[in-house]
């Protein structure tokens, strides 16, 4: 006959398993998201892309998170990539950028019904040694088990302690446009 301790352990294990399964059921994630940034000045346009962005959101709570490696941004010109990593972002010292935020109007997104939905997204963007709040309008396109998320927002390098030398300041905008394009798949 099973004693009380064995029954309790069995109950806790079953409860944990059910909780984990239920939790995973409304998590959508990807590890191949795209984040692009674009700087426009009269002298030069600079663009860089990262294709290995890890991201996930919880369709019940609206919590949304991103993580990417700064050094994995790819530029057209090797010299720009080198300056970006070594001088401006110091990617060896600060290797990652993360976003921890919220899809504000998650209840407006029906993940069980194909369609295009909109909601403000806001949260804390960390880059180098600075974390600041950013907010934008997100578009979420539901197609079966796939939900594509798109958003754009503006970042001022000075806000993130990114020091641009005076001799190249005219070539780099203080209004960097960041574009996010991620295809989330349902987990589990």
């Amino acid at each position: 006959m099973m004693n009380t301790k064995t029954l309790l352990i069995g109950f806790l294990l079953t409860f944990s398993l059910i909780s984990a399964t239920l939790h995973e059921g409304h998590i959508y994630s990807t590890r191949t998201g795209d984040v692009t940034f674009f700087s426009h000045t009269n002298i030069e346009d600079i663009e860089a892309e990262n294709h290995k962005v890890q991201a996930a959101f919880d369709a019940e709570t609206g919590k949304i998170q991103f993580s990417l490696l700064i050094a994995d941004f790819e530029f057209e010109k090797a010299l720009m990539q080198e300056h970006f990593n070594e001088n401006y972002l110091e990617s060896h010292k600060y290797p990652k950028s993360t976003f921890n935020g919220q899809i504000v109007n998650i209840s407006a997104i029906d993940v069980h019904k194909d369609g295009v939905y909109h909601s403000p997204v806001k949260g804390m963007l960390s880059m180098k040694d600075v974390t600041k709040e950013v907010s934008t309008e997100g578009t979420f396109t539901v197609e079966g088990n796939k939900i594509t998320g798109n958003a754009k927002f503006i970042v001022d390098p000075a806000d993130y302690n990114i020091k641009i030398p005076k001799n190249v300041a005219g070539k780099i905008s203080d209004q960097i446009e960041v574009t996010v394009n991620v295809a989330f798949l349902k987990k589990g």
Binding site: I27, S29, T30, R31, T32, G33, D34, E49, H51, K52, Q54, A55, A56, F57, D58, K63, I64, Q65, S67, L68, L69, A71, D72, E74, K77, A78, L79, Q81, N85, H92, P95, K96, T98, N100, A183, L185
Partner: protein
């Protein structure tokens, strides 16, 4: 006087050539660069987890050998191969150029591959509870065996 003019011209031309070299400096050609070190997938992950990404390996060409756990073609611009490390939620994610998509579609899950690429670091959860995977990121990859 003539010597001075020639000297200035040489310096100016030299500066222009050096500037042009820097401006048009090509990206690292992975296929022509010798790997700094060969790792197994497990060794590479443990090395980064224990030591961090040292300046010695940061942004350098390395090679990594491991079992293919996933061929991920979900990103149109960057087809990717994921190698098993034998550790929980820990993988080696190798990004390829777009033109390699067809080659990657023929890769068989479970086969062992040796891949060369540029080591970028670990993209892990870092306190973000929804993100569970710990991906060692290797870019501009090519399959060598």
């Amino acid at each position: 006087m003539k010597k001075i003019v020639i000297s200035i011209a040489v310096v100016v031309i030299g500066a222009l050539l050096y500037g042009s070299y820097l401006w048009f400096k090509p990206h690292t050609n992975v296929s022509r660069t010798k790997a700094l070190r060969q790792f197994s997938a497990n060794e590479l992950f443990l090395h980064l987890e224990e030591n961090g990404l040292s300046p010695e390996y940061f942004d350098q060409v390395i090679s990594v050998e491991g079992e293919v756990i996933e061929v991920d073609l979900s990103n149109d611009k960057s087809p990717q191969i994921v190698l098993e490390t034998g550790l929980m939620d820990a993988y080696i994610r190798c990004g390829f150029e777009q033109e390699n998509k067809e080659q990657l579609s023929n890769v068989v899950i479970g086969n062992t591959l040796k891949i060369k690429g540029i080591l970028k670091g670990i993209n892990d959860a870092d306190g973000l509870d929804l993100l569970v995977a710990r991906d060692v990121i290797v870019s501009k990859c090519i399959i060598i065996e």
